[in-house]
Symmetry: C2
Subunit: 482 residues, 2 copies
């Protein structure tokens, strides 16, 4: 048995990513249909915790759970023109059942606007029915050309929240709330550095007035959109006839927003951002096992094991997900490497010395530091460690992100920086339709995509558009994407 | 506004059932594709709690979560002969994507044996990989001829657990464990009376050696299978080549079980068994709101509301799902009826008198009794109420079930009893294949189905088969089913 369970240089990100997914048993890509993967227990626990965190956050902010069918009648999909143009090329179609050919094709939902809004029309009558804020946790299906596990699946997991309001102002506030929901979990609780953009006109959600999104800059220098929220205005309510009787006696179209939380992509982001050459590094809230206890055999094995069981019990009662790795056929060294590869944030080593001194040895996964902790202060020490690890993951992530944002002042600089990976910041003529030609030129010649301008800070453009030389209206961020 | 938000005689069960689903906003059947329903928040909270309860129970018993794709390649489905014969007539097929026709058809999973077992073949190598106990929570799709909300959906929610073992004995123990899992949640925690049967040969899961199932007797006298577990033996491991290297150096086929927990059907059972003419009665563990506080306006409204908020806070901290219904435009009377219809187990009424006397008025949903409780004993009193309601729901359910089991000693009695609804207990020649003709005769002439024999108690058959007159080998239960 080799010393290292996993040892892959992360600078070869593509190799690292597929190896850690397989070695840590997060998923299996050998299902036999391209773009469809099997999520294994270690991955599924992470998925479940992500769902739990986001669902709690959504409910705290007034959303309620619901579940709409997986299939959508073709005629629903046709109702909103931009929407159908955007999604139809990616739709999987159910056309037969048993021995019968169905009278009409049913789409596997690529997103659920067209499943939900005909029902919103029925449910919304008066002002009292508003706001209506529903979410559903489900998988969606898109016929992607180049699938990649968790990053681009033909079936992937997400949460979609669909809200309806009496006024535009409420809808505008909602998209900001959604952005805050993404940030409060993905960055605040899980330490994944993200950036918030308003997307250019040509990169909006099909049918939206505005699209806002969070991107994660992956280790290979490409970006991955992990969540997006869309101000739909009255585009869909007019197409689907969703009206309410206002207090002034008038029937009016509601204002809508929709919000997609990419659970699968967040798994990819979490793994990729935090992991190192030894494997996963999982932040406490999503770690399937938060603390692993490894007994050191030798003299006094019985007493050591008794102590281990006692600690296990104590930590479980304190609310931690804890595992005691008793397996006698494996050495402590093997167990250290194994659980490091799995990303377990804290390990406790217990041998004769620890039992006698009542001072335990803790190892934290992120820095691999070992810390001595008095037994009676264990629970407190682990709580502090959890917080400190989160702080340190955040700091590391932020620093790495910052170092990969560079300002370009010429097209050739832009091209070179994109080749090297990361964001390039530049002046740009317009994120309205009139800027599309410049964006197309960037994409064609550099494979870079204009991600939009930041909404969390205001950046005053100076000088001229990096492509056409007209006066710059926005500071945009450009990056290659998955 | 009418006094009654809901008042439907439950003896007309079919009307009661569809009205309560709509009035309590559990689901909406107007989605536009027969057999596909929309689950609304009040229903979805119940669904989520059911999932939470069963997932916790499965994990406690060594199962781990996983998630397999929604689509299954047609050739996988063909591997096990009985299985494909049983399920293929019910399969929905995906045949197109975007503008392309797929090279092979993909089934929407009707159940996931054929999605999972090719992976089990890859994962299981040695004895150390066993037992493998995985579950997934998902929806499945079956082209049912006569769909009915939650009872028979073309898309329905369930959990499926698939286990593999080195020995037959372990697999046999597993099906008993599964039966206990069903009972420990559905009966012990939620008070739904169930009966456990071993199904006759002709009513087994396609590909199984034995099938065991729990049925619920619905108010209209028909039964509904809510969960079933199957001893698969080596039928599937031989078809899918799932082998392990045993300690004796031999490669052997694993023994398998699979277990389906019908979440959608349990929603139907819960609603139907416990509800009354005033609406839902929800047991505490699945009630979206467990305690509703209704302020009585009048003098001292400010003090009353302050007290209500304080109680709300206190109960929330004690871990209850609590709601304070402040809406000023609705009368307390309306609120009482409304929350009774919704099935909220406990209501607290707070007026000036309650504030001054520090004695609160509690109303329990099941018996509609009102109880006086000293304010300082509130939390304790609600905990006791929760237990007492469960005891009382169980007792009521058990009594009702018992009263609807009757012994038939002739075919004409059998026919008459089935017409009146409920179970008929009778001697039967054989639940092996040789009894199929007798079962077919029963079905043809009475629409009754032989549910099998009980496995929780031993019932010694006396006399002869109710159909053919040969010596009875089993006491079977016969009922009409959904």
């Amino acid at each position: 048995m080799s010393k290292f369970i996993f040892q892959v240089d992360k600078s070869n990100f593509s190799e690292w990513y597929s190896k850690i997914i397989s070695t840590a048993e997060i998923a299996d890509v050998r299902y036999g249909i391209a773009g469809f993967i099997v999520i294994r227990p270690w991955g599924m626990y992470i998925v479940k915790e992500l769902y739990r965190l986001f669902e709690a956050e959504l409910e705290k902010r007034g959303h309620q759970p619901s579940l709409f069918p997986t299939v959508i009648p073709e005629e629903n999909l046709e109702v909103e023109k931009e929407h159908v143009t955007g999604f139809k090329p990616e739709v999987f179609w159910v056309t037969e059942a048993g021995e019968e050919k169905l009278e009409r094709r049913l789409a596997l939902r690529p997103t659920s606007e067209t499943a939900m809004y005909p029902m919103y029309k029925l449910w919304i009558q008066g002002r009292r029915d508003l706001p209506l804020k529903l979410y559903q946790s489900c998988s969606v299906f898109r016929y992607e050309k180049t699938p990649r596990p968790f990053i681009k699946g033909r079936e992937f997991l997400w949460i979609e929240a669909h809200d309806a309001f009496a006024t535009l102002e409420e809808a505008e506030r909602q998209v900001l709330e959604d952005m805050e929901t993404t940030r409060s979990v993905l960055y605040e609780k899980l330490g994944v550095p993200i950036m918030a953009f308003q997307r250019p006109e040509w990169d909006k959600f099909p049918g939206a007035v505005h699209t806002y999104a969070h991107d994660v800059l992956m280790p290979d220098g490409r970006v991955c959109q992990v969540a997006s929220t869309h101000l739909l205005g009255q585009n869909f309510s007019k197409a689907f006839n969703i009206l309410f009787l206002d207090e002034d006696g008038q029937r009016k179209h509601v204002y809508q927003t929709c919000y997609g939380i990419g659970i699968s992509r967040m798994v990819a982001a979490l793994i990729s951002i935090h992991g190192d050459s030894g494997g996963l590094i999982l932040p406490f809230p999503v770690a399937p096992i938060q603390v692993v206890i490894v007994p050191i055999p030798g003299e006094e094995t019985a007493r050591v094991l008794e102590k281990c069981r006692q600690l296990e019990q104590q930590l479980r009662e304190a609310g931690f997900r804890v595992y005691l790795d008793e397996a006698p056929e494996r050495t402590p060294g093997y167990k250290y490497y194994y659980w490091e590869m799995k990303g377990v944030p804290v390990r406790i080593e217990v041998g004769k010395q620890e039992v006698e001194s009542k001072v335990l040895t803790l190892a934290r996964r992120d820095t691999r530091e070992k810390i001595k902790v008095e037994e009676e202060k264990l629970v407190e020490a682990i709580r502090e460690l959890a917080e400190d690890m989160l702080r340190s993951l955040k700091a590391r992530g932020e620093a790495s992100l910052k170092s990969r944002i560079r300002d370009a002042s010429s097209f050739s600089e832009l091209k070179q920086y994109l080749e090297e990976g990361g964001y390039v910041r530049a002046g740009f003529c317009s994120t309205g339709w009139e800027g599309e030609a410049c964006a197309a030129k960037i994409q064609e010649e550099t494979r870079g995509r204009v991600r939009g301008f930041r909404i969390d800070i205001e950046e005053e453009p100076e000088g001229s558009c990096i492509v056409c030389g007209k006066p710059a209206k926005h500071v945009v961020y450009i990056a290659r994407q998955y």
